[in-house]
Structure formats: structure tokens, C-alpha cells
């Protein structure tokens, strides 16, 4: 049985792992062409924190994020498609523990 997910509602949702530990929020979804279809390959999750460097520029970017702006990630965790359980799209869950995933540095 197939189910539909709305991408624009999925982004920004917090992901927890199989142990209930917080992983971060979904900020990007990667897809690839396979045959006639465009299929999802991985989800990128980042933590929404204030920037490390203190400067007006980063302060402003932080403010933008507070106002709901999307952004590129400094550091993201990659989740292969099969490891994210979307049976409840409002509460995405990892099918494993967060330590079992690899890190992605942009």
C-alpha cells in the first residue's frame, strides 16, 4: 500500500532515532533518476543552532532561521532512505541508532 508524503511539510520536522534520541531536523532530501522514476536516495538532517562565529553576518543568518527561513547546512547527517520510517510523517523515526549513521561534512 503506498502512502503520500508532502515534502514541504516534512522539512523542518525533528527526527528521532530508534532509541528515542534526537537526531536533528530534516533539511534536504536527495533524489536520483532510476529508469522512468525520480526516487529518493537520502535525507539530510542538521541541527538548528546559532552559528559558531560571532559576526553580524552570522547573527543575521541566525535571525533568518528563527523567522522560519530554510538554509544550507554547515554540517549534516545523512540518512539513507531505507533507514527513515515515515509511517507517521509528523514524527519521522530512524530504524536504527544514530551512531550507526555516517557523518557528512559539506
Amino acid at each position: 500500500m503506498s502512502e503520500e508524503i508532502h515534502l514541504e511539510l516534512l522539512i523542518g520536522r525533528r527526527v528521532v532515532d530508534a532509541n528515542g534520541k534526537k537526531v536533528g531536523r530534516i533539511e534536504e532530501v536527495l533524489a536520483e533518476e532510476r529508469g522512468d522514476d525520480l526516487v529518493v536516495t537520502e535525507y539530510h538532517v542538521g541541527s538548528k543552532g546559532m552559528a559558531e562565529r560571532f559576526s553580524i553576518y552570522h547573527f543575521g543568518v541566525g535571525l533568518l532561521r528563527l523567522l522560519g527561513a530554510r538554509g544550507h547546512l554547515a554540517k549534516a547527517t545523512r540518512i539513507p532512505w531505507e533507514k527513515l520510517d515515515l509511517t507517521d510523517p509528523e514524527k519521522p523515526r530512524l530504524t536504527c541508532a544514530v551512531e550507526e549513521l555516517e557523518d557528512l561534512e559539506d
Binding site: E8, G60, V61
Partner: protein, 405 residues
């Protein structure tokens, strides 16, 4: 594609005619009357920031082929984009009402007929110009007619200003008296100079003309030269006002007072030249503000928006600017004092600058949009510091001004 020199010349003309409008005239005149040459630095700072912003909007268009509003929604999402768009819409409606008021005032100066009577005919003419006219014709005619503002420079020179003192005033200084009014006037000059509608308009034109990377040099030249000419005009208004009103301790409360500012230098030509300058500049600004506001909405929602299309080819766009003009007319018809409306609209513009401009600056540092033509540190620094400073001063002085009135 137009010849490079023609392009730059048009840019200069737009700078002269497009920069000076009711906001710049009113705020510069008030600054000169109340504080002499002291606030020239606000014009200079505002213009430097504006040059960077105009150049940036041209560069964004040329490298990403996106307009500002289009790119802001794409990059930051719709939920965020609504915030600066709404703020701009509200402020632009007030600015448009002020500009329409400026045209009506010019007509009153020439005919004696009251401003409120002129509101509907002017709005009808404006609507008709947008409906039927092409952008080239409108821009070129207002730009060429806008050359009449050279009268301010002529008048300024004839008053034998203290050029050394003028030069010293380019450096910011603290007020000798009435600090709340000084800083409020400074912030209203910044808001009049750094008008978001100008660079929204500029980026839309650049995308419509399909600018590309090879136009970047011309873009820089147009921005720098055009806006500098505009700043010279605004400074001339300030200097003339300083000479005519400041020694007599006249504060400018009504437009009718500003109208005589050219008379001491240019005698019987003073009033008509002022009226024509005001009328032409404000009409040009009406077109730009109305279109820029509509561009912002259309581009955020993804509608057809090209200016050189017939109304039936972009109906949501055409209906939107019709409504915008009507709302602005209603605002004007409430009987609000046009001068107060103008100055407050300029101060509110300064207030929302960070909200509107900062996302734009972020885009200009984003590789996926500008492909190797990112902002330099100086550009970033000047713009960011100016807009945040303007906003902070606005937050402090606007309430004080309202209470003081």
C-alpha cells in the same frame, strides 16, 4: 542588446530622475532647513549603500537569472518570504501614496487647484501609463524630463555655498541641537535613499533583458555613476534649502514652504522649475514603486510578470497593480498631510531595511546562485552595517517623532 554607452547613459538618466523623488526632496529640504549642511553625510552613506545594493541586484540577475523576490522564495521558502514581502507591501503603499501626493502637489503649485482634486486624475493617468505604455517609453521619457532637476544644482551653485564646509559634512557628525529630530531626519534620508523598490525594479528589468555575466562591468558602472549623479541632486536640494531656510530658522512643515526654495536663486523660474521637477520625479517614482511592488508579489507567487507584455497576457499582474494604485489613492484621500506621510514612509522604509535587504545579501554570498561572483567583504560590511544601523536608529526615533507631533 542596447549599445553599452547608451545603456550607461540611460542608467545615469535613471539615477538622476529615478533617485530624486518626493522622499529625497522632502527629507533633504528638511535636513537643510533644520541643520544646515550637517546631514550631507546621511545622503553620502545612503548612496554608497545604495550603489552596492543596485550593483548586487544586477549581479544576482545576471548570474542566477532570478529576480530578488523569486530567489528569496526559492532559497528561504514561502513561509519566510511572506514576511519581507508583506512588510514591503505595506510600506510601499505608503510610499506610493506619498509619490502620488507629490505629483498632485506639483499640479497644485502650477494651477492652484487642491491636492485632493488631483488625486483621481493623476491616478487614472498613472494607471493608463502602466496599462498601455511600455517600460522603455515610460522610463526614457521620465528620465529625460528628469534632467530638469539640474535646476537644483544651478541654484545651489548660484548661492555660493561654502564648498569646504560641504566637503567636511560628508563625514558623519553629532548634532548641536535637537538630537531626536536630527537622528530622525538622518534615518528618513537613509530610508529615502536606500529604497528597496529601486533594486527590486532594477533586478526585474535586468532579468527581463536577459543580462548575463558579460554585463557585469556595465552593471557596476551604471550603479556607481547613476546613483552618484542622484546623490549630487539630493545634496543640491539640501544645500539650497540650507541657504534659504536655515539662516532664518525656518523649519519646513509644509510642502508650500519647500516650493519657494529655488526662487531666491532662480527668481521667477524658481517655482515653475520646482513644480516640474517635483511632478516629473514623483511620476517616475510612482511607476517604479507600483511596478516594483507588483513584481514582488507576482514573482513570489510565480505569475507572469513581464512589463512589456499586454495586460491580457498577464492578468493577475495587471489587476494587482490596479488594486495597489487604488489603495494608495485611498490612503492619500484620507487627508493625511502629504509631507508628514512622506517623511514617515521614508523612516518606515529604513525600519524594515534589514528584513528586506539581509536575505538578499545572503543570496549574493550563495555560490549556487551567483556562481563565482560572490560579494566581497567590503560590500557585505557596508550594506549590513548600514541597514542595521538605519533600522536601530529608526526603532528609537520613530516613536519619539510620533509622540513629539
Amino acid at each position: 542588446m542596447k549599445n553599452k554607452f547608451v545603456q550607461i547613459a540611460l542608467g545615469i538618466l535613471t539615477g538622476i530622475g529615478g533617485y530624486l523623488e518626493v522622499g529625497s526632496i522632502a527629507t533633504s529640504a528638511e535636513a537643510g532647513a533644520s541643520f544646515g549642511y550637517s546631514l550631507i553625510w546621511a545622503i553620502v552613506l545612503g548612496t554608497i549603500c545604495l550603489i552596492f545594493l543596485i550593483e548586487m541586484s544586477g549581479r544576482l540577475a545576471a548570474t542566477s537569472h532570478h529576480t530578488i523576490a523569486d530567489a528569496v522564495r526559492e532559497r528561504f521558502g514561502f513561509r519566510f518570504a511572506v514576511i519581507p514581502s508583506s512588510a514591503e507591501l505595506i510600506v510601499n503603499l505608503l510610499v506610493l501614496a506619498a509619490e502620488i501626493g507629490g505629483v498632485c502637489l506639483a499640479l497644485k503649485l502650477v494651477t492652484g487647484i487642491e491636492v485632493r482634486v488631483w488625486a483621481a486624475p493623476v491616478v487614472l493617468f498613472l494607471w493608463f501609463a502602466l496599462w498601455v505604455g511600455t517600460l522603455d517609453v515610460i522610463e526614457n521619457s521620465t528620465s529625460i524630463l528628469g534632467l530638469v532637476t539640474v535646476a537644483f544644482v544651478v541654484a545651489a551653485v548660484k548661492m555660493h555655498p561654502d564648498y569646504a564646509q560641504v566637503a567636511r559634512s560628508i563625514v558623519p557628525s553629532l548634532p548641536h541641537h535637537d538630537p531626536a529630530h536630527y537622528w530622525f531626519t538622518a534615518v528618513s534620508i537613509l530610508g529615502a535613499t536606500i529604497s528597496p523598490y529601486m533594486f527590486v525594479f532594477y533586478s526585474s528589468g535586468a532579468v527581463e533583458e536577459r543580462w548575463s555575466v558579460k554585463d557585469l562591468g556595465m552593471n557596476r558602472a551604471t550603479a556607481a555613476i547613476g546613483m552618484t549623479f542622484g546623490a549630487v541632486m539630493a545634496s543640491a536640494v539640501l544645500v539650497v534649502s540650507a541657504h534659504v531656510f536655515h539662516p532664518l530658522h525656518i523649519t519646513v512643515d509644509r510642502y508650500e514652504q519647500i516650493a519657494v526654495v529655488l526662487t531666491p536663486a532662480l527668481h521667477k523660474y524658481g517655482l515653475p522649475l520646482f513644480a516640474i521637477s517635483l511632478g516629473v520625479c514623483c511620476f517616475g517614482a510612482c511607476v517604479e514603486v507600483a511596478l516594483a511592488t507588483t513584481y514582488g508579489i507576482a514573482q513570489t507567487f510565480g505569475w507572469m510578470w513581464g512589463e512589456d507584455k499586454k495586460p491580457a497576457e498577464r492578468t493577475r499582474f495587471s489587476v494587482t497593480y490596479t488594486l495597489i494604485i487604488l489603495v494608495a489613492m485611498v490612503v492619500l484621500l484620507t487627508g493625511i498631510d502629504p509631507l508628514k506621510l512622506t517623511v514617515m514612509a521614508m523612516a518606515l522604509t529604513a525600519l524594515i531595511l534589514p528584513l528586506v535587504v539581509f536575505p538578499f545579501v545572503v543570496l549574493l554570498n550563495d555560490e549556487t546562485y551567483v556562481h563565482g561572483h560572490r560579494n566581497g567583504p567590503i560590500g557585505n560590511a557596508v550594506v549590513i552595517v548600514t541597514i542595521f544601523l538605519a533600522s536601530i536608529i529608526a526603532i528609537v526615533t520613530i516613536p519619539l517623532q510620533i509622540v513629539g507631533d
